[in-house]
């Protein structure tokens, strides 16, 4: 388990994770500064940003001092020089989830944050172009939320025709 860099904001909880060198749990206000400190510490690439809706699993295990909310944004960073991976889980909020965008640090998160907005409704402040990316423009709702149904069409199985 690696440690936070000295530039990281104080009071960020960390823990060990499965298949990660470190998992951090910043609050919304600590998030940008934390990622900035990692970037300065040779984490050159932001590999993935995704959202999770914990509506049916609010009692997930979190370290002490971290209050879980319904929406979470998970960011994975990769250091090519040190060959390390870091996972950052920030609690985005319950009703109107909002986090700061990482576009100013890593340009490659643009499409990933747009996808999290499209499918979950998480607003990323300071994102240059927060529009839907996967769903049609006039779609209503955010499909990957747990209270949005899967949209199954009931299949009626008819009796097959007799021998031909």
């Amino acid at each position: 388990m690696i440690s936070l860099s000295p530039l990281a904001p104080p009071g960020v909880r960390t823990s060990e994770g499965t298949a990660a060198d470190l998992v951090c749990y910043p609050t919304r206000s600590q998030y940008f500064a934390l990622v900035k400190s990692f970037k300065a510490d040779a984490f050159e690439m932001c590999v993935d940003v995704c959202g999770v809706d914990y509506l049916h699993h609010l009692e997930r295990p979190l370290p002490d001092g971290v209050e879980g909310t319904r929406f979470e944004v998970v960011t994975n960073l990769l250091s090519l020089s040190k060959r390390q991976r870091v996972r950052i889980r920030v609690q985005a909020g319950d009703d109107e989830p909002e986090v700061e965008s990482l576009f100013a640090l890593y340009s490659g998160v643009e499409a990933m944050e747009r996808e999290a907005f499209d499918l979950f409704g998480i607003i990323f402040t300071n994102h240059p172009d927060l529009t839907r990316i996967l769903m049609p423009e006039d779609w209503e709702g955010h499909p990957l939320r747990k209270d949005y149904g899967a949209g199954n069409v009931p299949v009626q199985f008819k009796e097959a025709p007799g021998p031909r």
């Binding site: 769903m135 049609p136 499909p143 149904g149 949209g151 069409v153 025709p161 007799g162 031909r164």
Partner: protein, 187 residues
């Protein structure tokens, strides 16, 4: 050439056969490959399973020059109007083969994002099941279509609103839509 308007008699019968032969011997598909089935469609057009033997190796890029639209792959809600637009741009007579289970019924993906069967958007003539259907299945679907063109069933169906392959003989239950590809060689 509108065969439907001709008076059917002995002389025009030969011309009709000729026209039907011409139509089925050089069906030109419009390329509408969407997902995994598109790769199998490309494989069907390539060396080991050659579609050129049916005169179909030219996948016309412009729908205005194409006869057949092989909808190969899953059609999402965003793609549906585009599909309809491409179909509308094709000229009569035109046919549609729905390739794969995703195009035929929505397949594995029974959810908000996929149109449950492309026959909700365009009228389909032959359904080819499989995920993805191997090139042999696609070729069987094409041969079924050729058979339907040869007997003229397809045009008769359109004009009278009747389904093809109806066997009234023993009052069996008949499907309201054209049957799926049958196993076995076409007659």
């Amino acid at each position: 050439m509108g065969l439907e308007d001709l008076q059917h008699n002995f002389l025009t019968g030969q011309i009709e056969d000729l026209v039907r032969w011409a139509r089925r011997a050089s069906v030109w598909p419009a390329s509408f490959g969407l997902a995994c089935c598109a790769i199998e469609m490309m494989a069907a057009g390539a060396a080991d399973f050659d579609l050129a033997r049916y005169g179909m190796e030219v996948f016309r890029n412009s729908p205005r020059q194409a006869d057949l639209m092989i909808v190969a792959g899953r059609v999402s809600q965003k793609m549906a109007p585009v599909l309809r637009q491409v179909y509308d741009q094709m000229m009569e007579p035109k046919w549609v083969i729905s390739m794969g289970v995703c195009a035929s019924t929505g397949g594995l993906f029974n959810n908000y994002a996929i149109v449950q069967g492309v026959d909700q958007i365009v009228p389909v003539d032959v359904y080819a099941p499989g995920c993805p259907p191997s090139p042999e299945t696609l070729m069987h679907a094409i041969l079924t279509l050729h058979e339907q063109i040869r007997t003229g069933e397809i045009l008769r169906r359109r004009s009278e609103g009747r389904p093809t392959h109806v066997e009234d003989a023993q009052n069996l239950w008949t499907p309201e839509v054209p049957v799926a590809v049958r196993v076995g060689t076409p007659k």
